[in-house]
C-alpha cells in the first residue's frame, strides 16, 4: 500500500519525509510510467506538494499526467494538496474540487508569514504560509476546516483535503495523519 507524491517540482521531499516518519511507504511520480507503477502497486492516496503551480501544471500536461490524475481523483482517490497543490485541485486547474483559489493572495515573499490557527477537529495548528493562496470561493459540498482573518485556508470535499499552508514544513504531523484517516476511510485497513 503506497502513497504517491507528485514530484514534478517543489517540496515533494518534505512530504516524503513526513510520510516516512508516519511509517507510510511512498512513491515519487515524475512521469506516466511512475504513475502506472503506483496504480499497479495498490496505490491508495496522492499528495500534491507546494512549489510553483504553473510549473507543475505545464509538466503534468506535457507528461500526459493531467487526465489520469484527474480521473483517479474523481474516481475517489484520496488526495492532499498543499499550497500549489490546493491551487491545482481548484475549478480552473484540475477542476476536481469545487473551490476557486486566489494565487499569491498575500503578495510577494515579503508577505509570507507564520501563524498558529484553529483547525477544525485538531485545535491550534502551526501554519507556514509561503507566497500562499487562499480559497476565495467554495461550493456547498466543501467543508471549511480553517480560516485566517476570514479567508478560507483549509478545506475538505469528500476524498480531497487542501491547505494553503505547508504542514510538511513543521514538526506537526496532525494534518498528514488526518489525510491518512481519509485514506483509511476509502480503503479500510490499508495502512
Amino acid at each position: 500500500m503506497k502513497i504517491a507524491i507528485l514530484a514534478l517540482q517543489g517540496a515533494f521531499a518534505e512530504h516524503e519525509q513526513m510520510l516516512h516518519l508516519l511509517g507510510v511507504e511512498t512513491i515519487l511520480v515524475r512521469n506516466l510510467d511512475d504513475w502506472q507503477s503506483f496504480l499497479s502497486s495498490n496505490g491508495v492516496g496522492l499528495v500534491i506538494p507546494g512549489g510553483e503551480s504553473t510549473s507543475m501544471m505545464r509538466i503534468m500536461r506535457d507528461e500526459g499526467l493531467f487526465e489520469p490524475i484527474r480521473e483517479a481523483i474523481l474516481g475517489g482517490l484520496p488526495v492532499l494538496g498543499t499550497c500549489a497543490g490546493l491551487i491545482m485541485l481548484d475549478r480552473i486547474h484540475l477542476d476536481v474540487m469545487d473551490i476557486l483559489a486566489k494565487r499569491n493572495a498575500y503578495g510577494r515573499q515579503l508577505g509570507s508569514f507564520n501563524y498558529e490557527g484553529e483547525f477544525k477537529g485538531l485545535g491550534k495548528v502551526p501554519m507556514t504560509f509561503i507566497r500562499a493562496p487562499y480559497i476565495e470561493e467554495a461550493g456547498h459540498d466543501v467543508e471549511i476546516l480553517a480560516t485566517v482573518e476570514g479567508k478560507i485556508i483549509a478545506a475538505r470535499q469528500k476524498n480531497m483535503l487542501v491547505t494553503a499552508f505547508h504542514p510538511e514544513l513543521t514538526d506537526d504531523t496532525r494534518i498528514h495523519k488526518l489525510f491518512l484517516k481519509i485514506v483509511e476511510e476509502g480503503h479500510p485497513s490499508s495502512l
Binding site: 514530484a7 514534478l8 517540482q9 517543489g10 517540496a11 515533494f12 521531499a13 518534505e14 515524475r30 512521469n31 507546494g50 512549489g51 510553483e52 504553473t54 510549473s55 505545464r58 509538466i59 506535457d62 507528461e63 499550497c83 500549489a84 494565487r103 499569491n104 503578495g107 510577494r108 515573499q109 515579503l110 509570507s112 508569514f113 507564520n114 507556514t128 509561503i130 507566497r131 505547508h166 514544513l169
Partner: protein, 290 residues
C-alpha cells in the same frame, strides 16, 4: 532562528526541482513562465552580453524589473553587486522575491559582502566551495548556487564547484566531532554551521547549480551531482529556439534520472548557445567575492 530567515529558506525549498531563468523583457518572462520556469531572474543584460560588453555592470533599472513583476505570477529575482547594500535596499523596496548578490555584476566591495541578516527579503549567493557557501550562509544567505562561469555556455566550472562542495561535505561528515573545530577554523566559518553539515550531510539551505547550463543534458548532469535545481542564464535566450529549449530543460530537471526521457527532450532543439571555452575567457567571474 529568526522567523524571516526560516521563511526565506522555505521559499527556496519551494523552488527545488525547478529551473530559474534569466529574462530581460516581460515578453521573455512570459515565455519562461509558460515553459514551466519556477522563477525568473530579471536583468538588463544576460551574462553572455555583460561579458561581451565589458565595463561596469550594475543592478538593473527598477522600472524594468517592475515590468517583469507585472508580467508573471511566479517569483521574480534580481541581481545586485557584491557588497552593494544600497542596491539591495532598492530591490527590497520594490518587493523583489529574491536578491542574487552576484559575481556576474561588477563587485562594489572587494572585502565585505552584504550583511544579509539586516534584510527581510531573501538572498541567494554563489559559492565555489564549502567555505564560501557557509560564509555566505553565515552572512544571511538563505539559498546557495554554484558560481559556474556565467555567460560561457561551458559547464566545467559549475561541475568543479559542485563536485568540490560535495566532496568537502562528505569529508566533514566523516570527521570525528573533535576534528570539527579545526575544520571550522580552516573554512573560516562558525562551528555551528560545520556541525550542521557534519550531522546532516548537506548545507542548511537549498543548493542550486548555476553557470554554463546550456542543454537538458547539462541540467541533468548537475542534478545527478547533487544540485537541487538549476539556474539557466544565457543558455535559453541565446539559443536558436528559446521556447522549446526552456521547456526541455524544465522537464530534464524533473526527469534527470531517466535517460530515455532525456533523449527525447534533447531531440531537435535547434542551435545551442555558441559558448566560450573556459580557456578562452579573459575574465573569471567566479573569482569575484570569496
Amino acid at each position: 532562528m529568526e522567523d524571516r530567515t526560516t521563511l526565506n529558506r522555505q521559499l527556496a525549498q519551494m523552488l527545488k526541482g525547478g529551473v530559474i531563468m534569466d529574462v530581460t523583457t516581460p515578453e521573455q518572462a512570459r515565455i519562461a513562465e509558460a515553459a514551466g520556469a519556477c522563477a525568473v531572474m530579471a536583468l538588463e543584460r544576460i551574462p553572455a552580453d555583460i561579458r561581451a560588453a565589458g565595463g561596469v555592470s550594475r543592478m538593473s533599472d527598477p522600472k524594468m524589473i517592475k515590468g517583469i513583476q507585472q508580467a508573471v505570477s511566479i517569483p521574480v529575482m534580481a541581481k545586485c553587486r557584491i557588497g552593494h547594500f544600497a542596491e539591495a535596499q532598492i530591490l527590497e523596496a520594490i518587493e523583489i522575491d529574491y536578491i542574487d548578490e552576484s559575481e556576474v555584476l561588477s563587485p562594489a566591495d572587494d572585502i565585505y559582502h552584504i550583511d544579509k541578516r539586516k534584510f527581510k527579503v531573501p538572498f541567494v549567493c554563489g559559492a565555489k566551495d564549502l567555505g564560501e557557501a557557509l560564509r555566505r550562509i553565515n552572512e544571511g544567505a538563505t539559498m546557495i548556487r554554484t558560481k559556474g562561469e556565467p555567460g560561457t555556455g561551458d559547464i566545467i566550472q559549475a561541475i568543479r564547484h559542485m563536485r568540490l562542495m560535495q566532496s568537502e561535505i562528505r569529508r566533514l561528515v566523516s570527521m570525528s566531532e573533535d576534528e570539527l573545530y579545526e575544520a571550522a577554523k580552516q573554512l573560516r566559518v562558525p562551528f555551528d554551521l560545520v556541525k550542521f553539515v557534519h550531522e546532516n550531510g548537506k548545507l542548511p539551505v537549498v543548493n542550486f547549480a548555476a553557470g554554463g547550463v546550456a542543454t537538458p543534458a547539462d541540467a541533468a548532469l548537475m542534478m545527478q551531482l547533487g544540485a537541487e535545481g538549476v539556474f539557466v542564464g544565457s543558455g535559453i535566450f541565446k539559443s536558436g529556439n528559446p521556447e522549446k529549449r526552456a521547456q526541455a530543460i524544465v522537464k530534464a530537471v524533473t526527469n534527470y534520472n531517466n535517460p530515455a526521457i532525456l533523449a527525447e527532450l534533447s531531440e531537435d532543439l535547434g542551435e545551442a548557445m555558441v559558448g566560450i571555452n573556459e580557456s578562452e575567457i579573459e575574465l573569471l567571474m567566479a573569482e569575484r567575492g570569496k
